[in-house]
């Protein structure tokens, strides 16, 4: 057992209101720079939809992630042989137009335009070329277009749904959608790290954050192709790739990442997971795709188990980190309560960002024009008749294993029955008991789920392990040398090479 600690996350989709505050927080802090304008390390997309970059989930196009290869896995569109062969031109690289051409407006024209009969307008100008442009696409171009032909129907997750099943999703009265906020998953088996010929990417041992060393990146762009979530981006100006850094400078000082701190819906949770690094290869190479979720859950260790604690200490994991793992909201959602699932486990990168799938509005049905979300007559409401078909959800969150999604939805529903009984009291006790029994959920657990879901304070949502890095500075730098400078001090201006 090789115990390591990983900072992991849970996003509760039922609570996401699609306000994009998270994206803006991230943009303001990290990507409001030349060459990075088009990057959204955090983005929120509408599902069903094509996402950002367009159709990123379709690995027939982008060749991201790992694929099963005998008893092992190999990179789909990169790797030693393929990478070095394609180093002069990377055939699966998304280009600017797959994201969008960033632009601003000529605001000055509003003030300087000569007097005339028409209102002056601020024309869009490209942030790449500086010229006037016609905007073709933008960030969240398909925002809220849950039933649209151009976007929703192009969603690759429909591949397992029959045309009839798809059609049902697009009927005007039944149409529905939910938001899917995405950041880098800081994977346990990161395809980006494996694909980098220069070895510029690495996973930090202490907390599992995946980073790109800007001094070592040589713009071979393999990580952009290899990341199946398209969360590694190429900065066209500096000639270096960049990615979400999980706000590690904030984490190290005990603050939540900017996107999470700002989250208006309070959908985000962050905490430590202890895992067994010896099992990474085995889990990634799981035979059947439908077993991937269970295999992944098996890699995370119980932080209360004395054996695990012993092994963790032996590996140099600090006591305070172990305590953080025991208090981790992520551990509760993922392992104890089993109501959070990874996004696209079939990419086999073992992502560390889990989603509580949206129960509403999917489970809600419209009957005779009446919006009916829970009808005691059918215990599980519209689960078979879900407006958001379970098949669709399972192609997002469980590699097509519908059982996993149904289980989660039922547990979430049972919590609702229980809380409704407590607060409103209009459902019979035996109905509630039956529901709770079927998903083997106790009252205390249901209350705990309810509490952490809706009433949790900042410190309950973000259990950040104290960083012991402040002391390690002395090992990396002579403190006298950097006295008076900011942080580690600028060593080199991040200016484009020549």
């Amino acid at each position: 057992m090789d115990v390591r600690s990983q900072v992991s996350m849970v996003f509760h989709l039922d609570k996401c209101i699609g306000c994009h505050t998270c994206s803006i927080a991230c943009k303001n802090v990290w990507t409001d720079r030349k060459g990075a304008e088009y990057m959204w390390w955090n983005n929120v997309e509408t599902k069903p939809g094509t996402g950002y970059p367009t159709k990123w989930e379709n690995q027939d196009i982008y060749k991201g992630g790992w694929e099963k290869n005998g008893n092992s896995v190999s990179l789909k569109g990169a790797g030693k042989l393929r990478g070095l062969k394609n180093i002069f031109h990377n055939p699966h690289l998304p280009v600017l137009d797959d994201y969008y051409e960033p632009w601003t407006y000529k605001y000055e024209d509003l003030f300087t335009a000569p007097e005339g009969d028409d209102q002056p307008t601020a024309r869009p100008v490209s942030l790449v070329t500086g010229e006037h442009m016609d905007v073709q696409a933008g960030p969240n171009w398909d925002d809220d277009l849950g039933g649209s032909i151009d976007y929703a129907r192009q969603d690759v997750n429909f591949k397992d749904l029959s045309p009839a099943e798809q059609e049902v999703m697009f009927q005007l009265e039944r149409m529905t959608f939910f938001y899917l906020p995405r950041i880098c998953n800081h994977c346990l088996n990161p395809a980006c790290v494996a694909s980098c010929p220069s070895g510029a990417l690495y996973k930090r041992g202490e907390d599992g954050v995946v980073l790109i060393n800007q001094q070592v990146c040589r713009a071979w762009r393999m990580c952009v192709t290899a990341c199946p979530y398209k969360k590694s981006y190429y900065n066209w100006h500096t000639g270096k790739s960049e990615k979400c850094i999980l706000c590690y400078p904030r984490l190290e000082s005990g603050q939540a990442p900017a996107c999470m701190h700002q989250c208006v819906g309070r959908i985000r949770y962050l905490g430590v997971m202890l895992y067994d690094a010896d099992k990474i290869h085995e889990v990634a190479s799981t035979e059947k795709e439908s077993d991937l979720v269970d295999a992944q859950l098996g890699i995370y260790l119980d932080p209360f188990d004395p054996e695990v604690i012993k092994a963790a200490k032996k590996n140099g994991i600090a006591d305070s980190t172990i305590v953080a793992a025991q208090k981790s909201p992520v551990y509760k959602f993922v392992k104890e309560w089993k109501i959070a699932l990874p996004l696209h486990p079939e990419f086999r990168t073992i992502p560390n960002l889990f989603y509580v799938p949206a129960l509403m509005p999917g489970m809600a049905t419209v009957q005779d024009g009446v919006y009916e979300e829970s009808n005691p007559q059918f215990l599980w409401g519209g689960i078979d008749n879900n407006r958001m078909p379970v098949k669709y959800l399972s192609s997002l969150f469980s590699a097509g294993n519908t059982g996993k999604v149904v289980e989660v939805l039922k547990r979430l529903m049972a919590v609702r029955w229980h809380r409704r009984q407590v607060t409103v009291g209009d459902v019979k006790q035996d109905v509630v008991d039956k529901a709770m029994q079927e998903v083997s959920l106790g009252k205390e657990t249901a209350d705990a789920i309810f509490r952490l879901t809706s009433l949790a304070t900042f410190d309950e949502r973000f259990v950040i392990p104290p960083a012991h890095r402040e002391e390690s500075i002395e090992m990396l730098e002579s403190t006298a040398d950097v006295k008076g400078s900011t942080g580690f001090g600028f060593r080199e201006k991040p200016a484009r090479g020549w």
Partner: protein
């Protein structure tokens, strides 16, 4: 004059190259990049970059082998058919590089987005490459069977440069302008390395072949921290 061109200039280029690239690698690592522009324009680049690089890649190793093992080449050329095969192959790769570089120039000139990321040095780079490739092709065509005569003229000269005992008689006596241009521009490419994107082939990632796929880094020895006395239980965050 010949002394200046074939002794002073090469040594100047070589020393600039050595000092400059080590300095840049160590102190200006952020600027060392292939500065890919595929993200801005990917379609035209495909043929351009593939033709150019594979052509150059092969020619580079061809030249290297010729200078290191001239006898092997001469032995191979013992039969005229084999000589022909070698020369034609080399010429084809030369043409490939030539077409590639022409396409690269065309792409840089016509694509608006690529123009934005084109620096003065990119222009210089493409110009010397054009000179180098055209002069090379012309030598191959007009002064045919270079793979046989190079051992008499070029190998001794280049070797003499590297053993610090420059012998320029052979090269100076050669009656071919293209050959002289080819040699001079080769040295200028070497001299330009620290000031241009030429740096990118010095950092060719060979170690990728043998390194393990995943890389995990600890900022300190993770076992060591247990014994460190400075460590203490952290405090909860105060930014609630």
């Amino acid at each position: 004059m010949n002394y200046l061109l074939f002794v002073v200039f090469p040594y100047a280029c070589l020393s600039i190259f050595l000092i400059g690239s080590i300095y840049r690698y160590k102190n200006r690592a952020f600027t060392v990049s292939s500065l890919s522009s595929q993200f801005l324009e990917g379609k035209k680049l495909f043929l351009a970059s593939q033709l150019f690089h594979w052509g150059l890649f092969t020619l580079f190793f061809g030249h290297l082998i010729a200078f290191l093992f001239p006898r092997a080449i001469l032995a191979w050329n013992g039969q005229p058919v084999r000589l022909l095969i070698l020369e034609v192959t080399a010429f084809v790769f030369g043409l490939s590089a030539f077409i590639g570089v022409i396409l690269l120039v065309w792409r840089r000139m016509t694509d608006r987005r690529v123009q934005i990321v084109t620096s003065k040095m990119d222009v210089v780079v493409l110009l010397v490459l054009l000179t180098q490739i055209i002069s090379g092709l012309s030598v191959a065509y007009y002064n045919r069977w270079g793979s046989s005569w190079f051992a008499a003229f070029l190998t001794p000269y280049v070797r003499s440069i590297f053993v610090f005992d420059p012998q320029i008689d052979a090269i100076a006596s050669v009656n071919s302008l293209s050959l002289k241009i080819h040699v001079i521009s080769a040295f200028s490419i070497i001299g330009l390395i620290p000031f241009t994107r030429f740096m990118h082939f010095l950092v060719y990632p060979v170690d990728y072949i043998w390194r393990s796929y995943q890389q995990v880094m600890w900022n300190w020895d993770r076992r060591d921290i247990r014994t460190s006395r400075k460590w203490r239980q952290g405090e909860p965050s105060k930014n609630n």
